[in-house]
């Protein structure tokens, strides 16, 4: 801790060096924070101020050294976000890494790397991987590889993750065109003034729209897309898996046999495929588990069954078009996804909101948090074997919440409620009364009932206490956020760590528990629901006296926004964890880069470590406790 407090003093000693580096770049160079100056002072020639924000590491061989310094000295102990941006005009692909301090919070630190943009469908030259330092980088780097073809040297499993193995090209590169490509940016010209409806298939024949790798014959192709995943798991393990999650992976012991007899028994390890069409995987997720008896010795995830290249669509869209699309990410908490996005755009444009807007955002946002936790707990209990009785009780409550959201916003789940600087509608007095009734009467009672119903249940406790343990340090290293991190004893919540909205006006706690197992994750969610209710109650009371009804748009309402050139990383605390939007604007009406730091996706990164050494039935429970939504995982 002493080092943390010492770091801000360090750059003050040498202010001159970073200023010179900052001046080297002419336009839109990043402002130097004390931490950036510290890095610049230590690694003088290897870094310079990057475009818009953060530091650009020019000497790639120093990157790991710099990252170690960032982690160990500056205490940025979590890799929040890893992605890339394709600057096609400059001929470079820029890899972006954002680090944050957990649990202290504050603005993230950005480190960038630039690699020359290869021609055609070639991969880039390798850049160093952050996996040895931050295990949470694994999935994010794989996604960046999958989307941009950036090769990360040192990533243990650099395969495609969202696209299938035979896919040709790198879909988020600016020169890649999707099937039924119509134009680089919306609105498309064919719609007006001479609009004549044509089905996409008529307009762009399929034959013209598929490109195969050179020498590829689709008729001779024998699909074996799983070769890699099974082959990599088939290698016999020596029984020692280097994972320290407290469960150990001791070889199976059959009672009554000693060690030499066990060795003679020669148990086989088998590979079992779970999903993607299975209710216990919460959507179209596929887990491949390697089992020794009932014990999981290895686990790999196959993702991407719901992949629709949301981020490419986001770059085609205008800024406004993206709001309803964000609803489709984590479709249980649509409002919160919109909030993160409009927050980013508002910061870039410098838009102001009104009091009413902020209160309405808090009320609807926390209502979706309640709905999401009801859903999560209900389906966790499903995974535990309490088949649908608890789930249906809680779905009833969630239904009331989304009834209210439907009345206010016009849609039950795809609310499309937020606007830049505002929201789309105010509550009517009847809706306000319903919100009050839910917040002050119905939901407190239900949460008490939930607690009464489940918390002390012996079966629930027997199944979940000690299951899926992950220590606090490993949680941070794995970029885990949300209730799962708070159940491991880290009180990290973006509402407090990097505040947004009006959360500073309410009296609420961040529940923290210390055992880091499934049961604590459940308890944290129950506690969070109580805290959310407290926030909603205060917001309803405050909004009545401190805001004007109907004052729902700060500034002028517009549909063709132009966002000033720049970049922004906006993050909000959704019920699942930290949802971030990395946005880059080149000053046009479409985002140049639109990346989502999806908490469900990144939380899955730690799934393997939690499940290895546990029974296969528990791996389902662990997945349930992570509370993923595949719409957000696959995007």
């Amino acid at each position: 801790m002493s080092e943390v407090t010492a770091t801000p003093a360090k750059p003050a000693a040498k202010p001159a060096a970073p200023a010179a580096h900052g001046a080297a770049k002419p336009v839109a160079a990043a402002k130097m924070t004390p931490e950036m100056s510290a890095i610049a002072a230590k690694f003088g020639g290897a870094v310079e101020a990057a475009q818009y924000e953060g530091l650009l590491v020019t000497d790639h061989s120093k990157f790991i050294e710099i990252a170690t310094y960032v982690r160990d000295v500056l205490k940025y102990n979590q890799l929040t976000n890893n992605t890339a941006t394709d600057y096609i005009k400059d001929g470079v692909i820029e890899v972006v890494n954002q680090f944050t301090r957990v649990p202290q919070g504050g603005a993230p630190l950005t480190l960038k790397l630039r690699v020359p943009r290869p021609s055609g469908h070639d991969k880039t030259q390798p850049v160093p991987s952050l996996c040895p330092l931050y295990p949470g980088a694994e999935f994010q780097e794989r996604e960046t590889y999958d989307m941009y073809g950036v090769v990360f040297e040192g990533n243990p499993d650099l395969r495609r993750i969202l696209m299938w193995e035979g896919f040709n090209g790198w879909p988020l590169r600016k020169d890649w065109k999707e099937a039924y490509y119509e134009g680089d940016t919306k609105p498309f010209e064919s719609r007006w003034p001479g609009g004549d409806h044509k089905l996409a298939e008529e307009r762009v024949p399929w034959e013209d729209n598929v490109n195969y790798p050179p020498g590829f014959d689709p008729f001779a192709f024998k699909p074996h897309p799983d070769g890699d995943i099974y082959d990599s798991m088939l290698a016999p393990s020596d029984g020692t898996v280097s994972i320290d999650n407290g469960h150990g992976v001791a070889p199976t012991i059959v009672e009554g046999l000693n060690a030499s007899e066990m060795a003679e028994l020669k148990t086989d390890e088998i590979i079992v495929n779970m999903g993607p069409q299975h209710p216990s995987t919460h959507g179209v997720l596929r887990m491949v588990v390697k089992l020794d008896g009932e014990k999981v010795t290895d686990l790999k995830l196959a993702l991407g069954y719901l992949h629709r290249n949301h981020e490419k669509i986001g770059e085609r869209n205008t800024w406004l078009h993206n709001i309803p699309y964000t609803d489709r990410l984590d479709y249980i908490t649509g409002i919160y996804n919109e909030w993160g996005y409009v927050l980013g755009v508002e910061r870039m444009m410098g838009l102001k909101t009104t009091d009413r807007v902020e209160y309405l955002r808090v009320i609807t946002g926390e209502l979706t948090r309640l709905a999401s936790h009801f859903w999560a707990i209900g389906f966790l209990l499903n995974d535990l074997g309490a088949f649908f009785t608890p789930a249906l009780y809680f779905i009833t409550e969630r239904d009331l919440i989304i009834d209210l959201l439907e009345a206010v916003t016009g849609s039950r789940m795809m609310c499309n409620y937020m606007r830049f600087g505002g929201v789309s509608r105010d509550f009517t007095s009847a809706q306000w009364a319903m919100a009050r009734e839910l917040a002050f009467e119905r939901l407190p009672r239900t949460i008490d009932e939930l607690d009464h119903f489940l918390t002390e249940n012996e079966i629930l406790k027997a199944r979940s206490i000690g299951t899926g343990y992950m220590s606090a340090d490993r949680c941070i290293a794995h970029s885990l956020t949300g209730p799962c991190l708070r159940a491991a004893g880290i009180g990290y919540d973006v509402r407090r760590a990097d505040p947004y909205g009006y959360y500073d006006r309410f009296d609420f706690d961040i529940p923290v528990l210390y055992n880091g197992d499934v049961y604590d994750r459940y308890l944290v969610r129950v506690q969070e629901m109580r805290e959310s209710l407290k926030i909603i109650q205060q917001a309803l009371n405050q909004a009545e006296t401190q805001s004007k009804v109907g004052d729902i748009q700060g500034g002028k309402k517009a549909y063709n926004h132009r966002v000033p050139a720049g970049q922004c990383y906006a993050r909000v605390e959704t019920p699942k964890g930290e949802l971030g939007y990395y946005l880059v604007s080149d000053g046009n009406q479409n985002p140049y880069k639109y990346h989502i730091r999806s908490c469900s996706y990144i939380n899955l990164n730690s799934m393997k470590e939690m499940a290895v050494g546990q029974k296969v039935a528990d791996s389902v429970v662990i997945l349930g406790s992570l509370d993923i939504v595949l719409g957000e995982v696959d995007r």
Binding site: R191, G195, P324, Y393, T396, L400, G410, R562
Partner: protein, 259 residues
């Protein structure tokens, strides 16, 4: 230290209470007709206990007024004309780009006329976001609340889900019927618009009269009577206002489209 099994028993107590409540709630409705609206509304309200489901499609919950599904075009009841001026804003704000508008052109002058020649909404693409209704400057496109648009492709037109102008156009009264709270506001706005147009027309007529008077003063020739000018003026003035608004919108859109 609790007794082993007490947690399960409390839980079972909760399920038992839920089970008994279903009967109690039914007994409360003994005297009333089953299937009438109050029961359905109560079952879906925040006060609901016991059975919370309703028997769709025999029972249908009324949708809230804000509920949105597929858009429709509003036709003025009096003049029997579309409110739409084919300005194209809805097509531009549509996130999945499911709106196609063809603008009418004057057959003689080839100048655009503020009315749509054709209008398509592909409901298979539509994401029901409601932007078109929200950003339409003329209140010409609104969101329908009818959510039952499924059909049998064997018996009906295969392209049924692509709505053309004919099927999209609805009367004003239909719109007011499903959106009762906007009726007063819209009528008020309309009255204000009409008053404005009238004032503008009167001003124009006055000006014309003054011009005519000047002309009379200048040349002692027979004058064009100003009565027709006054009677004709409201329509061009109103049309002119619409055209001006459309032109402004087009200019804005052009600016937006320009990189």
């Amino acid at each position: 230290m609790a007794i082993i099994g007490s947690g399960i028993l409390t839980g079972l107590g909760v399920t038992l209470r839920h089970f008994v409540e279903t009967y109690i709630e039914d007994f409360k409705y003994m005297g009333k007709k089953a299937g009438v609206q109050p029961r359905m509304i109560r079952r879906q309200s925040p006060k609901a206990k016991g059975i919370v489901t309703i028997e769709y499609p025999m029972e249908k919950m009324p949708v809230p007024e804000n509920f949105r599904y597929i858009p429709f075009l509003v036709k003025d009841d009096k003049t029997n004309e579309d409110r739409c001026t084919s300005c194209g804003i809805c097509a531009k704000v549509c996130p999945p780009q499911c709106i196609w508008i063809a603008r009418t052109e004057d057959p003689v002058t080839k100048r655009p006329v503020p009315a749509p020649k054709d209008f398509f909404i592909d409901s298979t693409i539509c994401m029901n976001c409601g932007y078109c209704a929200e950003f339409c400057p003329f209140d010409a496109i609104k969101m329908n609340t009818d959510y039952e648009i499924a059909y049998y492709p064997e018996t009906e037109n295969d392209m049924r889900l692509v709505y053309d102008k004919n099927r999209l156009t609805m009367n004003e009264s239909f719109h007011w019927n499903i959106h009762p709270s906007v009726k007063a506001a819209e009528l008020e706005a309309k009255a204000a618009d009409e008053a404005k147009a009238k004032a503008a027309a009167e001003a124009a007529a006055k000006k014309a009269a003054a011009d005519a008077a000047k002309k009379v003063a200048l040349a002692a020739a027979p004058v064009v009577p100003d009565a027709p000018v006054a009677s004709v003026a409201p329509t061009p003035a109103a049309g002119g206002a619409a055209m001006a608004a459309r032109a402004a919108a087009a200019a804005r859109a052009a600016a937006a489209a320009k990189k």
